[in-house]
Symmetry: C2
Subunit: 903 residues, 2 copies
């Protein structure tokens, strides 16, 4: 294929023929011939019955678009030759009134693309050839019905005449005759209508309907190519990252008819069940029908197999019993195709007068459950290798089977939409504050917490809720990140939502929902529904476990989880995490007494006051860490020292401030002053991370003490050596790490000498600022590991606040300025280069430096593929993403970018 694709030059071959047991193309030539054309060629070559035809390559399309809709000089001659070849195989002539060749014209690019001209059937019919068709088929009604269908289709898709104008004429014709069904119209009726169609078209366009078949063909081809650049197609490509220069191919193929009588049929099938993955032929057919009838839903399609008939409790006969011979041929085709393509195929076929013709084959879309079963079984059948099985599952699709989903049969009333921030479906009664959510959950209620946006103060309510809905914020807003970490469903940034907290209700346009009323959210789809919608709980199949074990065997990178609480840590372990890559210590500071002590610390006038408050927090932190170390029992745990700016721990409402003042036994004016002093214009770039540690070393000192004491405690309990990895956040310089490492080392040696134990630990840093990435060589002199904080690195490299980007980032994606949300999939060109630089310089200084990533991108397959290329040691993501990351990491190692066409 590579050789042929290289031949892009003015001397190109523009047309590739197929049919009659051979073909000029093959399945490997999808770039040049499109998916449909390449597969038609392939089927011809392997001896399957394919109506002859030819493909105009995607290069013709590119030529056409680049040179003002003109064609290469030699195209016409090539097309004439190819057409002649069809005529020869079929034994009919294009435009021959006595024995006309009819063709279909279909677009067919590398990726299927709605918005483009699709299909014209029966091309070649005109007032003369229709008579030939009538004679040959012995069915004048069939011939005229075909003719009028052709005119309708052609006028609609090629000439742009509106559909309803034909419908009106047909209705008028039926009224004239006094009938109600199309089937009641006879040959002459259609003939009359054809005349009226042509007149109407001429009136509309100011020119007659083209009756010359060659004229019809060239215009149809031109329409396909022109549709490549229509607005819908362009928009679709932008949204799906399809380059404009791919172009589309055009397939011209001899018509076969499934509607020439009772020995004719048409159908579609999957070589295995696309819903369950069962290795059974699965499909539907209709006797005496054209392809579109099967999918149009006018007639009820019948099952292909007896088993299918039984399973569907159908009374209509199966093909297996009606046309056993043809079915036998089709079943052979099924086996041929699976063996040849080594994957489930989605096929279309037509039976014309007892003769089977294959019209299409392509990789069959399937559910995730089916994809797992098919992949595992095909590997067990030795049809594919285990590596191929692993490569075929779309890691993102696993989300479907790891979270509850909506019952597909349920009726739903959508209230509004937001971003699909954290997958899973959840129903519950609405609570507008975290406290209320917690209280209701305490009474056994399922709760959906609804907030304008969430903050660390809401954590307990988020934990208590089944799902979270916010009016503001993006895919990496606080709500989204925390919900994914906890495995709670979340719809974020539902911009239509007006939340009125005092009135305890929310409104979308004129629909209001009060606190206590029930809603359902689908965090995978971003939908918010009224009332309770039944959900289906996930069950993990044996095939899932098998495939994941193969994936684990294949991958190089370790997969860790970002988890802050013992509950989350346990969940992470259950999902197969091999360590904790990010344990954020601040989430521990918001509960109960802790926040009181934390605030006391912040409000303290001096170091002594801070130390006394920290002394109260110490045992609680130690307990948390000890529990986490015990659960992980020797697996690595990376603990990040306090990161957020202190003002996040103080409330802002008057009555809360008074409460804080009371609790801390200080004047409320003092609290207010402190809040005012801590105010920051850009908190993201403010006094946070290790900058706090530099200003208040006593905080990090307390945290280091809690970590070391917990490690000793857990080590004694588990009989494992606990080697904590202590991570310094937001460093921009080596000096910051040196100063803080000194604090940590001092605490370590104090604890060690007091306990008479040798402490093993590592001190490393987050690389989350561009400067840190550039200075990684120097920083690595002091840091024993790097963990890339890609959220912040993206914010700073791009100058883009993830909390605020919602105002324009969707527009940026729509306009194609950014190919995808850089907070979801890593920006390889910019942020990625910083990571590459940091890895390279870090390794140069410290050969064995441990490199990982703990930003949100750690759970994104496309990003994981990039992390493999720079050789990170591990990725870390939220617990519920761990299986996705395990699979994606395996695929990355296997050097494959993604799965097959799983839905």
């Amino acid at each position: 294929m590579a050789k042929k694709a290289k031949g892009k030059s003015p001397a190109s071959k523009w047309v590739y023929g197929f049919g009659g047991g051979k073909a000029e193309g093959d399945a490997g030539m999808k770039e040049l011939l499109g998916g449909k054309g390449a597969n038609l060629a392939e089927m011809s070559t392997i001896g399957l019955p394919v109506p002859p035809g030819f493909t105009l390559t995607t290069e013709v399309c590119t030529y056409f678009e680049e040179r003002g809709q003109s064609y290469p000089d030699d195209l016409e001659a090539e097309l004439d030759l190819a057409l002649a070849s069809i005529e020869k195989i079929v034994g009919a002539k294009f435009g021959d009134p006595a024995n006309p060749l009819l063709v279909s014209v279909r677009s067919g690019g590398r990726a299927s693309m709605p918005g483009m001209m699709d299909t014209v059937l029966n091309l070649g019919l005109n007032d003369e050839t229709v008579e030939g068709l009538a004679t040959l088929s012995g069915d004048a009604r069939f011939a005229y019905d075909s003719y009028r269908r052709f005119i309708q289709m052609y006028a609609s898709v090629v000439l742009g005449v509106e559909h309803h104008q034909f419908e009106e004429l047909i209705e008028f014709g039926k009224d004239e005759k006094g009938v109600t069904l199309d089937t009641e119209l006879e040959a002459d009726d259609w003939k009359t209508l054809v005349g009226r169609f042509k007149a109407m078209i001429e009136e509309n366009l100011g020119m007659p309907f083209p009756l010359d078949p060659r004229d019809q063909l060239w215009r149809a081809i031109g329409a396909v190519f022109a549709s490549w650049m229509n607005q819908r197609a362009i928009t679709y490509r932008r949204l799906h990252n399809i380059p404009d220069d791919w172009g589309t191919a055009v397939n011209v193929q001899a018509m076969v008819f499934g509607n020439m009588g009772e020995n004719c049929a048409t159908g579609v099938a999957f070589t295995r069940n696309p819903s369950t993955g069962e290795n059974a032929f699965y499909g539907e057919y209709l006797v005496n029908a054209q392809g579109e009838d099967v999918v149009a839903g006018i007639r009820t399609p019948q099952n292909l197999t007896l088993a299918g008939k039984a399973a569907n409790k159908s009374k209509l006969p199966a093909m297996e019993e009606v046309m056993p011979d043809i079915f036998g041929q089709l079943d052979t085709v099924r086996r041929t195709l699976e063996t040849h393509y080594r994957d489930v195929q989605d096929i279309e076929f037509t039976v014309q007068k007892g003769m089977l013709w294959m019209l299409q084959t392509r990789t069959g879309k399937r559910t995730t459950q089916a994809a797992l079963r098919i992949a595992v079984e095909m590997a067990q059948e030795k049809l594919i290798t285990r590596e191929e099985a692993v490569a075929r599952i779309d890691p993102l699709a696993l989300d479907q089977i790891l979270h509850p989903t909506l019952d597909p049969n349920a009726n739903i009333t959508i209230l509004t939409r937001g971003l699909p921030a954290s997958p899973g479906a959840a129903s519950g009664i609405v609570a507008f504050t975290a406290d209320e959510a917690e209280a209701l959950a305490g009474k056994g209620e399922d709760v959906i917490l609804v907030r304008i946006e969430t903050s660390p103060e809401d954590i307990h309510g988020m934990h208590a809720a089944r799902g979270i809905l916010t009016a503001r914020g993006g895919m990496t807003s606080h709500a989204a990140v925390v919900a994914r970490g906890m495995g709670r469903a979340c719809v974020a940034g539902a911009g239509e939502l007006r939340i009125d907290i005092p009135a305890r209700q929310m409104t979308v346009r004129d629909v209001s929902v009060k606190a206590g009323e029930r809603i359902t959210i689908d965090g995978g789809a971003g939908t918010v529904m009224l009332g309770e919608v039944p959900t289906i709980q996930p069950t993990l199949s044996d095939e899932f476990e098998t495939l994941m074990s193969w994936a684990d065997g294949a991958r190089r990178m370790k997969v860790r989880a970002n988890a802050d609480t013992p509950v989350d840590v346990r969940a992470a372990l259950d999902f197969g995490a091999e360590g904790i890559g990010l344990c954020r210590t601040e989430h521990m500071f918001f509960e109960g007494e802790r926040i009181v002590a934390m605030r006391e610390m912040i409000l303290a006038e001096d170091e002594a006051g801070r130390r006394s408050a920290l002394q109260k927090i110490l045992p609680m932190q130690r307990r948390d860490f000890a529990e986490i170390f015990e659960i992980m029992a020797g697996l690595p745990v990376t603990i990040r020292l306090l990161d957020p700016p202190l003002h996040e721990f103080l409330p802002h409402q008057d009555h809360e401030l008074e409460e804080v003042a009371r609790a801390a036994e200080v004047d409320v004016a003092h609290v207010r002053r402190r809040v005012a002093r801590l105010y920051e214009t850009n908190p993201m770039l403010g006094h946070r991370g290790c900058r706090l540690g530099i200003t208040y070393p006593e905080i990090y000192e307390m945290q280091a003490r809690a970590i070391f004491e917990a490690a000793i405690e857990a080590g004694a309990k588990t009989k494992q050596t606990i080697v904590p990895e202590i991570m310094i956040p937001l460093a921009a310089t080596k000096a910051e790490i040196d100063i803080l490492k000194e604090v940590i080392d001092r605490v370590a040696s104090e604890v060690a000498s007091r306990e008479g134990i040798k402490l093993d630990y590592q001190v490393g840093t987050m690389i989350e600022l561009p400067r840190a990435a550039l200075r990684a060589g120097e920083i690595a002199k002091s840091a024993e590991f790097f963990s890339f904080g890609t959220n912040d690195l993206t914010q700073t490299a791009y100058g883009l606040s993830r909390d605020d980007a919602g105002n324009f980032l969707p527009d940026y994606q729509a306009k194609g300025i950014v190919p995808h949300d850089p907070f979801v999939t890593i920006d390889i060109d910019g942020v990625g280069e910083l990571i590459s630089i940091a890895c390279e310089r870090g390794r140069k200084t410290r050969k064995d430096i441990k490199l990982g990533i703990c930003g949100e991108h750690g759970g994104d397959p496309a990003s994981i593929a990039f992390f493999e290329t720079v050789g990170l040691d591990y990725v870390s993501c939220s617990p519920y993403r761990v299986p996705i990351a395990r699979l994606a990491a395996a695929q990355a190692t296997l050097g494959k970018k993604g799965g097959d066409g799983t839905a």
Copy 2:
């Protein structure tokens, strides 16, 4: 020198002798011998009378610190040899009771450093040698006075005995004798006191005062080296970027005495007047005195020259008349030193019994006015080259002569201190709002505008005021940047200030200042003073003009100015700007009707509404641009399209919101909603810069139209070709520039075809995001020039909000984490690498791409030196910094890093 310095090895030479007309070192060996030692050696070599001595090198210090305060093995032997050499020259022996050699021990590093052990004189005296000294000098009182002084000094600086304990014993002694002056004590009295001193010391330290001269010497040397690592010295070094490993040298030198009688004297002098720069010998002396007496202020020093005596209206005789011979020798020394060192020297000398001895020479500190005159005159005298003259002026020192300064003779009461945000001294009455400042200024009052922090809404008040004082914000806060741009004095971030706007007063601790009361600020020093302090207006000397013309001839980079209004642009031109590197269009939006139209635009519901509001702004923008183009008459002008987030244009106070609603004829609730919607968590990383242009292309369209129409108008008036440079801010991708360039190009071709004129213009971008720097190669495909926005680039590369950094950045500097404020001097290692990368990649794509910088660093000499290394075409800074930048750019071209020791 290089050769000698290389000899750093265990086989090093540790001791360098000098005296007797030769020396082992020279002036080039400051790193090894310290400044003092190197110059003593140099003076010896060129034949000046220097008391013999030797220098222990800085390497001994490093050895001492690194090896637990021990010395190299061979040091003692080298020292013995050097000491013997002194003894031989002087003809006396160290510790010889009959003919004792006395020495001084002084520290002397590469840079002078307070906090270290300084000087011990008369070392070598003890109960025996003091008698020898008495005999030799024939003056027992002199001998015992010297002895007791030695004990006091030695005990204080070497042994750490507190000074006051000696004072008390002396007082007691005088009481006993019934006298009041030290001079009334006689030889025996001092002898008695010496005994008491020794007893007191022994009681304090538990060991006797060391009487063995060698013991005295080694301990003094050890004290000097140890003082290198004392806390005060360490702190000083951190603050002044002096590396710990420089170390200090120790100079041991034979004593000479200026206090042995009337044929003795001591003095200090400058080879030219350090205050005016006049080429006249300038200095003071005292007969029969020791060096410390001249500076101690106990006796009134006398003038060296008759001219000096006349100028100072002194009645005391000049040395020129008292000791004409010695004066003649000294004047010869003066000429020798200037010719030899090619710069003004600051010297110390002693006359012992009619014999002149030189004790020190170093480069003389001088005022900026003097520095200019000296440099220019020395170049005219051919003593130095013009390039050297240019290199010798500290560009930052020019600030002194470009702005009003406080009268140094005025009495001042400092209220508080802040950051020296914009130089100049200004007095005025306090106003707490911009409107009030404007109103008062309209009545002819001098006003100081005092704000917690300023915002773009305050611009008119800042313009009206003489100076600005803020309680919050750093060196690059809004107040600081705008004040520097306008040439207003500004003290920013005066953290002690409590401003109570309703009460119309500000308070520092218990001192309050009410609106209408008068204060004075010194923006160069960061001080805030009560009442009016007289100021001195700057006058620019001929020497300034001469030197600047030499600088202009020497530099490669162009110097432009950041200026937004015709007034500022004119000021920039007056200061020698060769173009406008940054014209911020948003500052134009805040005045009068403009802000009303701007707000109408922001509040509009749709594009049509926005367009109608923009239509009102168009003629005003056009007028501004036309005026600017006319003033610059063909010089390049870079206009930045709208940059700040829209919320900056909306007020936040209730009554203001109501006003805006009334003016825009909309509901106040609508205004409130809009304000709420525009709220951003991190506005610095939000919806601003070209992101606004992408969302609202009509804004940039209007601005482009105003620019092109103004260029045509100004072109017609000035008969110059105006080539506007249109700058797109905050781009992160090439796509953003492509989309906006299309808008600009379309407007250009519309205007051009309407006017029938060919328009010449460039479209470029700011590089102010790390991603943009990395993607510069791609961006340069579309951008015709880059202007580095180093403020934002520093903020994003460092993850550091300049508005918030004030909370911890000073601490970071104090702890040595950052060597300097990265918003003042560019962070070469991090931000600098991004600039280098962008320059390299930009040039690779577009060979002749124009590269400049318009961040605050454009006026910082150290940063300008860096910009020269990456080959920028120009720097752009605030108008009042233009002379500084011109000089700094010249020095950068000359490859020199800074000036000499000008103060």
